[in-house]
C-alpha cells in the first residue's frame, strides 16, 4: 500500500500540488490513523494534509478520483472498472467458438502471456498490465510524445516477444488459435495504450500545461485565437499573482544607516537628552502610482485588453492606478474595470470608445484638458499603442508636457521596432519625449515591462 501512496503523491505533484517530503510523511501518518476503509474519509485526509490552498484542494480532489479509479498493481479483487477495460481484448476472442478449453490443451508449450490471453482471465490481465506498468515506471511519463515508448516498454515487460514467437509457431500448427491470439493481442495493445493515456493525464498534466503556457506566453497577443483567450486571461492572472508576490512584501526596510539626530533628541527629551531610544533615518520610498493610457482601436485592442487586465489585477501592489482608454477620443475606465468582470468591462469599454480610427492628438488633448493634474512627480505614465495616428496632428507637445510632469513616461508598442516610423506611425516623434520605449507584443514582454515599472518604486 505504501508504494501506492508514493505513486499517488507523484500523481498529486503532476496535478500541480506542491508536496514536500515532510508533507508526504505527515500524510502517511494521518493515513495510518484513518485507514483505507472509508474512501471519503481518506479523500478528506489527503485534502487536509496535502493541499494548502483552495485551488490545490480542487486539483487534488480530481487527482484522487482519477487515481483511485485506476487498477492497482497487486492482484485486486474484481472491480467493475477493470472489467470494462479488459473487456476489449476478449471482445474479439469471445465471439469465437467454444474451442477454448480444447485450444489451451493443445498448446501446452505457449508462453504465459499467450495463455493468459487465451484463458480470458480478466483480473490476471489487469493485474499483469498494472505490474508491467509499474516495472516500466509509467509514473515517470511527462509528455504526450512519450506514449509510444511507454506502451512499448509495458508490452515488453509483459512478454510480447514470447507471444510473437508463439504466434509464429501457432500460425503454422494451429491457424484458428493463432487468429484468436492475434485478435486478443490487438485488444491488449488498445488496453495498454489506454492505460498509458490515463497515466499521462494523471502524471503529466502539469508538464504539459507548463509547455503550453510557455508557448502561449511567447505568442503575439494581437494574434491570439479566440479559443485561447480564456486561457490567456488565466495566464495573465498568474503573471499578476507572481508580480504581486514579488513586490507586495512589507515595505519596511531594515532600520540601518544614519542616525536621525533631530528625531533622536526629540524622542529623548524626557530623559534630559540622554539618548535611550535611537531613531534612524529611513529610506523614503514612493508608493507606486500609475496612469495607463490604452489605445483600444481595432489594431491593438487585444493587447490593451490584456494590459488593462494585468494592471488591474495588480491592485494590491499598485495602490493608485487610473486607466484611460481611447481611440478617437479618451475616457477614464478605472471604475468600469474595477466593478465588472473582464469580459463585461472590455465589452463596455469597446462600446464606448472602441473600434474608431485612432486619433492620438485629439485623445492627448482630451487627457490634458481633464486629467492633467492627476499626474504628480511620483506618477508613472504608461501609454500602450501603436502610435498610428492616421496622419492626423500627433500633438507631441502634449506628450512632452506629460513627460515633464511625471516621474517616468513609458511607451509600450505592440509593433516591432522595424515598423516604427513607417506609414502613419508617429513613434519616432513620440519616443523623444518618453523615458522608456519598448516593444510589448507577448505576455512575457508585458510581464517584464510591468515588472520593471513596479520594481522602480521598490
Amino acid at each position: 500500500m505504501r508504494e501506492n501512496l508514493h505513486r499517488f503523491f507523484r500523481a498529486a505533484r503532476g496535478a500541480g500540488v506542491r508536496l514536500s517530503p515532510a508533507e508526504s510523511i505527515d500524510a502517511m501518518r494521518a493515513v495510518s490513523k484513518v485507514g483505507f476503509t472509508d474512501r471519503t474519509v481518506l479523500r478528506d485526509t489527503f485534502l487536509l494534509t496535502l493541499a494548502k490552498t483552495q485551488d490545490e484542494k480542487k486539483a487534488l480532489g480530481d487527482c484522487f478520483d482519477l487515481f483511485f479509479d485506476q487498477p492497482e498493481p497487486t492482484p485486486p479483487p474484481p472491480e467493475e472498472n477493470e472489467t470494462d477495460k479488459s473487456d476489449t481484448p476478449e471482445s474479439g476472442a469471445a465471439s469465437e467458438t467454444q474451442g477454448d478449453a480444447a485450444g489451451s490443451d493443445q498448446a501446452q508449450d505457449i508462453g504465459q502471456l499467450a495463455q493468459m490471453l487465451l484463458s480470458q482471465d480478466r483480473n490476471a490481465m489487469a493485474a499483469a498490465i498494472a505490474n508491467a506498468s509499474n516495472a516500466a515506471s509509467l509514473s515517470d511519463i511527462r509528455y504526450f510524445t512519450q506514449r509510444g515508448i511507454f506502451s512499448g516498454r509495458i508490452l515488453d515487460q509483459m512478454g510480447i516477444q514470447r507471444l510473437r514467437d508463439d504466434l509464429d509457431a501457432l500460425t503454422a500448427s494451429n491457424p484458428a488459435l493463432a487468429e484468436r491470439l492475434q485478435a486478443a493481442l490487438d485488444g491488449l495493445r488498445d488496453t495498454v495504450r489506454e492505460t498509458v493515456s490515463q497515466a499521462l493525464m494523471l502524471y503529466g498534466r502539469e508538464e504539459a500545461e507548463n509547455l503550453r503556457n510557455e508557448i502561449l506566453r511567447n505568442a503575439p497577443l494581437s494574434r491570439i485565437e479566440p479559443r485561447q483567450v480564456a486561457q490567456m486571461r488565466l495566464l495573465i492572472r498568474q503573471i499578476a499573482r507572481r508580480l504581486r508576490e514579488r513586490y507586495s512584501k512589507p515595505r519596511k526596510r531594515q532600520r540601518r544607516g544614519h542616525l536621525d539626530v533631530r528625531r533622536t533628541i526629540r524622542r529623548n527629551a524626557a530623559w534630559g537628552g540622554v539618548p535611550f531610544l535611537t531613531a534612524w533615518k529611513r529610506r523614503h520610498r514612493d508608493k507606486p502610482k500609475i496612469i495607463a493610457l490604452c489605445d483600444v482601436s481595432g489594431s491593438v485592442a487585444r493587447v490593451s485588453d490584456f494590459f488593462l487586465l494585468l494592471i488591474h489585477s495588480l491592485h494590491e501592489v499598485v495602490s493608485d492606478v487610473r486607466s484611460f482608454a481611447f481611440s478617437g477620443h479618451l475616457i477614464e475606465v478605472s471604475d468600469i474595470l474595477e466593478a465588472k468582470s473582464p469580459e463585461e468591462a472590455m465589452a463596455e469599454i469597446m462600446s464606448k470608445v472602441g473600434f474608431g480610427s485612432s486619433d492620438y492628438g485629439n485623445s492627448f488633448a482630451d487627457f490634458e484638458h481633464d486629467w492633467m493634474n492627476a499626474i504628480t512627480p511620483q506618477t508613472t505614465v504608461i501609454i500602450l499603442g501603436d502610435a498610428r495616428s492616421n496622419n492626423l496632428d500627433p500633438r507631441a507637445d502634449i506628450l512632452r508636457r506629460i513627460g515633464e510632469r511625471s516621474k517616468r513616461l513609458v511607451w509600450l508598442n505592440p509593433e516591432g521596432r522595424m515598423a516604427w516610423g513607417w506609414g502613419d506611425s508617429e513613434m519616432p516623434r513620440y519616443s523623444t519625449f518618453c523615458t522608456v520605449v519598448r516593444q510589448c507584443a507577448t505576455a512575457q514582454q508585458l510581464e517584464r515591462a510591468v515588472s520593471d515599472i513596479v520594481a522602480s518604486y521598490q
Binding site: S20, T37, V41, T49, T53, Q54, P250
Partner: protein, 315 residues
C-alpha cells in the same frame, strides 16, 4: 472492530461538537479528529462568519479544556504574544532589597569578589518569577492542556508567523534568558485566517489546512435548528433556501452562517409565520451589510421567495 475505529471516532467528534451546538460537516470532524491523532494544528480558512472561531470554542467546551485566545493584529509582537519581563516588579524588588544587597556585597574584599556575587544575584531577577506569560506561553504552561486559538493570523505581520513556527511544530518556545520551555501537555491549536494575505509556506506546512465554505442547505438548516430552536420547520427551510439564492448574486459581502442565525432570531422575534415580501424587505439589513448589496437584492426578493417556497414543496 478495529477497521471501523476511525469512522466511529470521527462520528464521535461530530456528535461531541453537536452537543455544544456546533454542527460540523464531515470534513471538519475529520480535521478535528486528525489534529488530535497526529498532534498538528488546524489552519482554518474561509469567509467571515462561517464559524471558524466558533469551532475552537466548541472544541474547548466539548473536551472541557480552557480556551486561550490570541487575537492577531498588525504590529503584534513577542512582548504581547509570548512573554515580557515584569519591569516594574524587578525595579520594586531591587529597591526593597537594596539594604540586603549592601549586606551581601559588604562581605566582599575586592571588586572582583563583589562582581562574582552580583552575578549569582542577577540570575534571580531574570527567573520565571518575573516573567509575565502572554497567551502563547500561557498555553504551553497549562497542566491539563488547552485549546489555543490564534485568531485572524493573516492580520499579523509576516515576522510574527516565524515566531509561531517553533510553537506549532514542536510545542515549545525558546526564551533567551530562560532556555527552551516545552508544553506540559500539547495544546490543541487552531489558527484562523480570512485570506487577507497569503500565509507563508512554512506556516502552512505545519498545519492541517481546512477550508470552511458556506454550508450546504441541509447542513445549514441543521445549524439553524440547533442555534434557534424556536423556529418552525417551514420557515427554516424557506429562509435557508432564500439565503442560498442570495448567495448566487454577485455581492460585496455574501451573507454567511452568522447572518443566517441572526436573521432566524429576528424572524422568530417578529413572530413571522412564513417568509413574506414585506418582512423580508424590512429585515434585509440584518442579512446584508452594504447599501449597494441591499439595492442589488431588493428587486429579486419576490422571485427568491417564490423559489424557496417551491423548493419547500418538493424538498
Amino acid at each position: 472492530m478495529a477497521e471501523n475505529g476511525p469512522t466511529a471516532s470521527i462520528e464521535a467528534v461530530e456528535r461531541g461538537l453537536a452537543a455544544q451546538g456546533y454542527i460540523a460537516s464531515r470534513q471538519i470532524a475529520t480535521a478535528v479528529y486528525l489534529s488530535q491523532q497526529i498532534d498538528k494544528p488546524i489552519l482554518v480558512e474561509g469567509p467571515a462568519g462561517v464559524g471558524k472561531t466558533e469551532l475552537a470554542k466548541a472544541i474547548a467546551a466539548w473536551r472541557g479544556l480552557k480556551m486561550i485566545r490570541l487575537q492577531c493584529y498588525e504590529g503584534l509582537d513577542e512582548a504581547k504574544a509570548l512573554y515580557e519581563w515584569k519591569y516594574a516588579k524587578q525595579l520594586l524588588y531591587t529597591q526593597i532589597l537594596k539594604d540586603k544587597l549592601g549586606e551581601v556585597l559588604g562581605g566582599a574584599e575586592t571588586l572582583h569578589d563583589a562582581l562574582a556575587q552580583l552575578h549569582d544575584f542577577g540570575d534571580v531577577f531574570f527567573s520565571k518569577e518575573f516573567v509575565e506569560a502572554r497567551p502563547l506561553l500561557q498555553a504551553l504552561e497549562q497542566p491539563a492542556g488547552c485549546v489555543l486559538l490564534i485568531d485572524e493570523i493573516d492580520k499579523s505581520d509576516a515576522e510574527f508567523e516565524s515566531l509561531l513556527l517553533e510553537i506549532l511544530s514542536d510545542f515549545q518556545v525558546t526564551l533567551p534568558e530562560l532556555g527552551t520551555i516545552s508544553a506540559v501537555s500539547a495544546p490543541t491549536v487552531i489558527l484562523t485566517s480570512n485570506s487577507e494575505r497569503d500565509l507563508g509556506d512554512a506556516l502552512k506546512r505545519r498545519c492541517l489546512h481546512l477550508h470552511i465554505g458556506f454550508p450546504e442547505q441541509k447542513l445549514e438548516e441543521r445549524i439553524v435548528e440547533s442555534r434557534v430552536p424556536g423556529i418552525s420547520q417551514t420557515l427554516r427551510k424557506q429562509m435557508v433556501g432564500f439565503i442560498n439564492e442570495v448567495r448566487t448574486l454577485d455581492l460585496k459581502k455574501l451573507p454567511s452562517v452568522s447572518e443566517t442565525i441572526d436573521w432566524a432570531r429576528v424572524l422568530v422575534l417578529l413572530q413571522a409565520p412564513e417568509l413574506g415580501h414585506e418582512i423580508v424587505k424590512d429585515t434585509l439589513n440584518v442579512l446584508l451589510k452594504y447599501e449597494a448589496d441591499i439595492e442589488a437584492t431588493m428587486p429579486q426578493v419576490s422571485s427568491f421567495i417564490a423559489k424557496s417556497s417551491r423548493q419547500n414543496v418538493f424538498g
